[in-house]
Amino acid sequence: MAGNSSLYLRRRFTNALALTLSTMATVLGLIFLAWILWETLRQGLGALTPKLFTKITAYGEDGGLANAMVGSLIINLIGILIATPIGVMAGAWLAEYANRTRLGESIRFLNDILLSAPSIVLGLFVYTIIVLPTTALTSGNTTFSGLAGGVALALIALPVIVRTTDEMLRLVPSTLREASLSLGIPQWKLTTQILVRSARSGIITGVLLALARISGETAPLLFTAFGNNYMTANPMDKMSSLPQVIYQYANDPGEAMHAIAWAGAFVLTMFVLLLSLASRLVLSRNKVSHD
């Protein structure tokens, strides 16, 4: 009897210990989240001045981030504009044309791998297929460009959009497909005008998530868009971007540069968090309308 009760006590103790540890693990995770957000907020807000939005990058305290912000917007826009149509079409193919085929399954599988592939390698890939050939064409001037940066970001956004489109289309009830096909509508019209429309908010969520993902990407931009200390809107020109300037300034020994980097980090974090919030809102609104 005594042995039994000590076993019981030990089991209760193990249980209590494990559950306490798991609670502590969660608290630890939340502490890190709070710590990172708090420091970004504190250091970023302290350095946030109107001149960040009006002046272009310059060494010292006079610099702003205007050209980096414009560059980021343009590069992200190029990335999303390339990735969205391709991603939606590829996702539609996976869901509607190749759902149970061998090729479809393998591409779905490989897409999931591309989703977490190292972004720096994708940057080198774009460097090889865009920057190097154009460099050869222009007799040796290294032709980093905003366009190359946009293509690199498109490669990162693509799998996100493919996956969400695929998943959202497969959620559309098949009665809708059967009803449309029985009316004699060709499949391409069914896909473009009925299925994509009814999965629209899900697809928009995917695009917003992809945008959130690529707007924080730094590594692939280092060898594609490179950076530019002047304001430019020409996608064939070198272009600076917010993450790239943050990277450059944070590695700089100057304190003033660090402050600007923090301010940029703050703007970037807010932008990304607002985007993921917006994508959640779009999705939850869609859920309500379906019920």
Binding site: A18, T26, Y97, L110, P118, V121, E217, V272, S276
Partner: protein, 379 residues
């Protein structure tokens, strides 16, 4: 679609409808009078025309369908092309390095741009060491988080806490890098590193070896360091761990929820505690997916660039100590590629190829493991 229906309706209202009606009643066979015959002929001409229109439309639809599916398939194949392209481009770019150094490349720790000799050992070791440290820290914590969110937390707390943890995954890696560089690395250097070097390392400040460093093999080397700053392999590992915790924990939480309730209820009915149900029922049932989630986190950690570059110190020399600065493949590329030329550039490409292949294999295993549970579920 509306336009199509209307035009179809108009067609039906015309000759073909009459023909269908006539056919059905067999009127044309009974028809004797000229008038009826003429009527019938007119109807037939109309019917042929409309059938042609319909056939043409059917052909056009089929053609469009075919073109459309080719277009879609082409887009889907781009996914394949970009994976193959990334592997091919880095292999092609690294061909000089592979040709020059051969297999020796993998085991050489040399890195000297002045003599153009490069080896992959230091960055490869740094990549593996930081990722393994990140996993050692992140896996138990992620399991704790997933356990808390699926078994311990009160229902009202689950969604907000889960969203907060997932928020961690949304923060750009460069923010982790800055936080690591300016906040965490100094904190680490002031509060954690002295303790580790003095009590575990073989280079303590006062010169007196601790009992652990003197008696447990390897520990002294692992934690010995006289580098005064916070940047180190361990720091990078910790920052990476914070980054991958949300990935691993959300996979774990998701798969924990797929465990059939009757399985858990049976164990509870036999008197199991929450911990026993989690450890002996939930974990074995979801084993393959949990391993998949861990490999997914490993894949992320291996390829992560920015967060690591900021806190790793970027020292291209080999050190056994995890408190010394090091370099990872991604950080080496990020730091040196812009200024590199010739063989150095080729070496960086070769490193990228190695990274890509290793990550690809790790992610392949991850996805395959995750699929095992999905198959068991019948999805």
């Amino acid at each position: 679609m509306a336009a199509r229906l209307t035009s179809g309706g108009l067609l039906l209202k015309g000759a073909s409808q009459r023909r269908i009606v006539n056919d059905r009643l067999g009127l044309h066979r009974l028809a004797g009078s000229h008038e009826r015959d003429r009527n019938h002929m007119q109807a037939n001409v109309g019917a042929v025309a409309s059938t042609m229109v319909q056939e043409e439309r059917a052909h056009r639809d089929a053609r469009h369908d075919r073109l459309f599916s080719w277009l879609l398939k082409g887009c889907a194949l781009l996914v394949l092309a970009s994976l193959l392209g990334a592997a091919g481009a880095t292999l092609w770019g690294g061909r000089h390095a592979f040709a020059t150094f051969g297999w020796h490349f993998l085991i050489s720790s040399a890195w000297d741009p002045s003599t153009d000799t490069y080896g992959a050992l230091v960055p490869v070791y740094g990549t593996i060491a930081t990722s393994v440290i990140a996993l050692i820290i992140a896996v138990p914590i992620s399991f704790g988080v997933a356990l808390y969110l699926s078994e311990v937390a009160p229902a009202w707390l689950r969604t907000p806490v889960a969203s907060a943890i997932e928020l961690l995954a949304g923060i750009p890696s460069i923010i982790y890098g800055m936080w690591g560089l300016f906040i965490f690395a100094p904190f680490f250097a002031d509060h954690i590193k002295p303790w580790l070097t003095n009590y575990l390392g073989d280079k303590p400040d006062d010169g007196k070896l601790s009992w652990v460093a003197a008696h447990v093999p390897f520990i002294g080397k692992l934690f010995g360091s006289d580098y005064p700053f916070g940047a180190s392999v361990l720091t990078a590992g910790i920052v990476l761990a914070v980054m991958i915790i949300p990935f691993i924990s959300s996979v774990m939480r998701e798969v924990f929820q797929t465990v059939p309730t009757r399985l858990k209820e049976s164990a509870y009915a036999l008197g199991s505690s929450t911990w026993e149900v989690s450890w002996d029922i939930v974990l074995p049932y979801t084993r393959s997916a949990v391993i998949g989630g861990i490999f997914l986190g490993l894949g992320r950690a291996l390829g992560e660039t920015m967060a690591v570059t900021f806190v790793l110190g970027n020292a291209m020399q080999f050190s056994a100590s995890i408190l010394d600065p090091g370099a990872s493949i991604a950080s080496t590329i990020a730091n040196q590629f812009s200024e590199a030329a010739g063989l150095q550039k080729s070496t960086l490409m070769a490193l990228a190829f190695l990274l890509f292949v290793v990550t690809f294999i790790v992610l392949l295993i991850a996805r395959w493991m995750l699929r095992q549970l999905a198959h068991k579920e019948g999805r």
